[in-house]
């Protein structure tokens, strides 16, 4: 009963239409993501990773096929789905707290309780005392943590992460990977991560999905072994089998680029 997938793609096709042409961006995608699962999408540029996230988020409808959320077709953006972008995109004219409350404000769920929940989240991510500051007064890592709080504030059960660590320095990125994975695991959330960083993908996910480009389609799926999966992302990189898996997927990606370009 509980095994209804959180996200299900059925024969998904997506066509981009411009004045000049219509391009097939995604073709024949089939994918199920189970509750509590964390999957990563990797692939060469132009494989439609971000596009796929936007479709799942309901920002635009599929051209053919179906996108199901908890078994129901996606009609538009819903509060059950949280979205994190490559950069924090905190609104510079809002305070940290006000930024974190944005989602609650937009979904009409702003209350004393929900505000207390957000303050708790800020506290829990080491952002206590920053509530009345402005984004430009915070470091990049802190800002991305605020963006995570903003996403979690509406209590979505599916998180779409569009390269949220790519704009950070290496150390901050490792710390944030741990934080995000811990947070998602603790709260039993489902996650879909788009990334360029293959070792990140292996370290944080239960499954890594390799996409091919032009048109974007699923090429192969790698299930991450329990030992790597169980460890925190930082330590997962040291687990036995990590390097072998890394090289296996790496070869897969390389053969793709060789063929595609």
């Amino acid at each position: 009963m509980s095994q209804v997938p959180v996200v299900e793609l059925k024969d998904l096709d997506l066509v981009y239409v411009t004045d000049r042409e219509a391009v097939l961006a995604l073709e024949g995608m089939n994918l199920s993501v189970m509750p509590g699962e964390f999957i990563s999408l990797v692939g060469p540029s132009g494989c439609g990773k971000t596009t796929l996230l936007s479709v799942i988020a309901g920002l635009f409808p599929p051209s053919r096929g179906e996108v199901l959320l908890h078994g129901k077709p996606v009609a538009g953006p819903s509060p059950e789905v949280g979205y994190m972008l490559q950069q924090d995109y905190l609104f510079p004219w809002r305070t940290i707290l006000s930024n974190a409350l944005l989602g609650l404000e937009l979904t009409g769920r702003l209350s004393e309780d929900s505000q207390a929940f957000v303050l708790e989240l800020l506290e829990g991510m080491g952002l206590g005392g920053t509530a009345d500051r402005y984004p430009h007064q915070l470091s990049g890592g802190m800002r991305q943590r605020v963006a995570l709080v903003r996403t979690l504030a509406t209590n979505p059960d599916l998180l779409l992460l569009d390269e949220p660590f790519s704009a950070l320095d290496y150390q901050t990125k490792l710390q944030l990977e741990d934080l995000v994975v811990d947070t998602l695991r603790q709260r039993g959330k489902t996650g879909i991560l788009v990334t360029h960083d293959l070792s990140e993908a292996i370290a944080v996910s239960d499954r890594v999905i390799v996409l091919a480009a032009r048109p974007g389609r699923i090429r192969s799926t790698y299930v991450i072994p329990e030992t790597i999966r169980g460890a925190q992302p930082f330590y997962a990189r040291e687990e036995a089998g990590f390097n072998e898996l890394f090289h296996e997927i790496w070869r897969d990606l390389e053969s793709l680029e060789g063929k595609g370009e």
Binding site: A57, L59, G76, P77, S78, P79, V81, G82, Y83, L85, Q87, Y89, F91, P92, W93, R94, L102, G103, E105, L106, T107, Y134, H136, T154
Partner: protein, 279 residues
């Protein structure tokens, strides 16, 4: 021993840094003082030359007057109270013209942002109206609205509104699409996108059109007063010209320069307050 030495070093070292900073401030202050002194000197020389030229008959006094005469004229108008109604009329028209111009221009920008269809429909009309020398419409406004306050304000609006609309609409379109995406992923509609992302992000642009519009409003008001000619500083200029009292013309110009500068500075001050928390 080691500790004592490093401590001994720390004292003079920080004093040395302090001294560097003081010196930097001193040099900077000296620079600013020099600029101010030169500015005042230049003003004094120009006024002095003008005074001399008038008194020694180098120029025709009837046309060019000279500073003490102009000053006397201003003083006389201030003391006998004749200046105030003219000043009040002009300042009132300018303030209404530039505030209303900014407001109407911004609202129009909102309207065409809201409806891309309307934006495309109105585009050629805006281009034509923007290219037109709007003051040429003055006589039509006078016929429509009567020779007075309304016609002058409308003349001013005709100059300020379209430019405001174009600038503000442009700033709406330049807002980073990812802010809009943030709003949309939370299920926000077009109204949310506008109120929570587009408008606050464009706020600095809107405020800066206030600054541009102050200058434009003065043009509109003075031209309007030239045409309508009953009251106001523009009227004083035309009147002075007609009775060949160029001292009055120049006195009016001096007053306009002072008041317009004051108004501009006020708007700059308001802008600074409104944009304080941003970067």
């Amino acid at each position: 021993m080691d500790e004592a030495m490093s401590k001994g070093k720390a004292g003079p070292k920080s004093a040395w840094i302090e001294e560097k900073w003081r010196e930097h401030l001193r040099i900077k202050r000296r620079g600013s003082r020099l600029v101010l002194a030169t500015q005042l000197l230049l003003l004094a020389v120009l006024i002095g030359l003008w005074e001399l030229a008038g008194r020694l008959g180098w120029v025709d006094v009837l046309i060019f007057s000279y500073p003490s005469k102009v000053g006397g004229q201003i003083l006389k108008d201030v003391l006998n109270g004749e200046l105030w109604p003219h000043l009040a009329a002009t300042v009132g028209e300018t303030a209404v013209g530039f505030l209303l111009g900014t407001l109407v221009g911004t609202l129009l920008a909102v309207l065409i942002w809201w409806s891309p269809f309307l934006s495309r429909v109105l585009d050629p009309y805006m281009v034509v109206f923007n290219s037109m020398p709007k003051v040429a419409l003055g006589p039509i406004f006078i016929v429509l609205f009567g020779a007075g306050f309304t016609a002058i304000v409308i003349t001013t609006l005709s100059i300020t509104v379209i430019v405001t609309t174009l600038v503000v609409y442009n700033s709406f379109n330049e807002v980073d699409g990812n802010y809009i995406k943030v709003i949309r992923t939370f299920g926000g509609n077009r109204r949310d996108v506008f109120m929570k992302a587009i408008l606050p992000a464009s706020f600095p642009a809107i405020v800066s059109t206030l600054k541009v519009n102050v200058g434009m409003a003065w043009v509109g008001v003075i031209v309007g007063e030239f045409l309508v000619a009953k009251i106001g500083l523009g009227y004083l200029i035309v009147y002075g010209f007609q009775v060949f009292n160029f001292t009055l013309v120049l006195a009016s110009l001096v007053i306009i320069a002072v008041v317009a500068t004051g108004m501009y500075q006020l708007v700059v001050y308001v802008e600074r307050i409104l944009l304080k928390e941003r970067r």
